[in-house]
């Protein structure tokens, strides 16, 4: 819930910086190691925007898997489904884990209050 609220604050701030408007969609990247469940995040998001000026705005979550590499075997290793083990399934040595900890706001789309970009500044 706290994360959804922070994401919404970031959206509002960004939109205000771009002349104001109504948020329609925000895209996030969530890594499998981020300790955040996308479904719950979307549920919290709906609770954050409901009843407000951005009601109905969509949160789209892109899932980012972690990559695991075993230096001893010299190859990337798949993680067994449902397992968080960070040791190589073949040789038992610790795996190098990269990525998968993303929790990022990527971009957002909104309906601008302005008629056209830069309209106010254009000579009539």
């Amino acid at each position: 819930m706290g994360i959804a609220l922070e994401v919404y604050r970031t959206c509002r701030r960004t939109i205000e910086e771009h002349g104001g408007g109504r948020l329609s969609r925000v895209r996030m990247a969530v890594g499998e190691l981020a300790a955040v469940e996308p479904e719950l995040l979307v549920y919290a998001w709906e609770a954050v925007v409901v009843g407000g000026p951005d009601e109905g705005a969509e949160l789209a979550v892109e899932w980012r898997p972690a990559r695991q590499f075993c230096a001893a075997c010299g190859q990337a290793k798949a993680r067994a489904s449902g397992s968080w083990l960070r040791v190589c399934p073949d040789c038992g040595l610790p795996l190098e884990v990269s990525g998968g900890d993303e929790l990022d706001v990527l971009d957002l789309s909104f309906e601008s209050d302005a008629e056209e970009p830069g309209a106010a500044g254009r000579p009539g």
Binding site: G2, I3, E6, V7, R9, T10, C11, T14, I15, H18, G21, S24, V26, M28, L33, A34, A35, V36, S83, W84, L85, R86, V87, P94, L103, D104, V105, L106, D107, L108, S109, F110, E111, S112, A114, E115, E116, P117
Partner: protein
């Protein structure tokens, strides 16, 4: 008119900025900051009481307590003559960096060698919020399920140390200690695992040694 704006910002960037300020503040005062995370009832406060008694006279300490309600935990720490501030989150399940900064500014917490931040009892959300700490410690009591590390892998893989608490109860509970240690190690091959009992004193020496070593290393790095 429809516009698309690229943001590319960490979802908790605001918290990260405050955490960075805290990290600089702790570096300036040479304070080792430890973020204690566990389920409710795993014995964090009791472990802290034993720790503070063991460090008394040699390492100055202070404690920031996070709870949804009541000053009970801070009162227990103050009873030992150690400065403590209670953050009441009023329903929120974790502490954030802003709350910790406010506690330091307004809670009368002096500059100390070791600052313990006892997070709200919860193994999920506190994992995500950086408090500017030097390291996270996860506490797991032997009365909890021994599959907890694999149920909550994120915190066990991120915490530099895991303390298995209430070890005095081991003969009375079906807790497979060796299996738990293996599970934690598989999630976090380089972390430290300690087995401790605040009641019997077992393992408290190893835990305070870890704190002293980390404090000395931080001070050396700061010179």
């Amino acid at each position: 008119m429809k516009q698309v704006v690229t943001v590319k910002r960490h979802a908790l960037a605001a918290n990260e900025e405050h955490a960075e300020l805290l990290r600089r503040r702790f570096a300036g005062s040479g304070t080792l900051a430890v973020n204690l995370i566990s389920s409710p009832g795993s014995g964090k406060t009791t472990l802290l009481e034993a720790t503070l008694r063991a460090l008394r006279g040699t390492v100055s300490c202070a404690v920031i307590e996070g709870d949804v309600a009541t000053e009970n935990d801070a009162d227990r720490i103050r009873a030992l003559g150690v400065p403590a501030h209670q953050i009441l989150t009023g329903g929120s399940c974790h502490l954030d960096a802003r709350q910790v900064a406010r506690a330091l500014d307004e809670g009368g917490i002096p500059e100390v060698d070791v600052l313990f931040i006892e997070n709200v009892g919860n193994l999920i959300c506190p994992t995500t919020y950086d408090l500017g700490e030097d390291f996270k410690v996860v506490v797991l009591s032997v009365t909890e399920g021994d599959d907890k590390p694999v149920k909550y892998p994120a915190i066990f893989s991120r915490a530099e140390a895991a303390v298995i608490s209430k070890a005095d109860l081991l003969p009375h509970v079906p807790f497979d200690l060796a299996a738990v240690q293996a599970r934690i190690r598989s999630l976090n091959p380089t972390g430290t695992i300690l087995v401790a009992s605040a009641l019997s004193g077992e393992g408290i020496g190893g835990w305070t040694d870890l704190l002293r070593t980390r404090l000395a290393a931080k001070r050396r790095a700061g010179v």
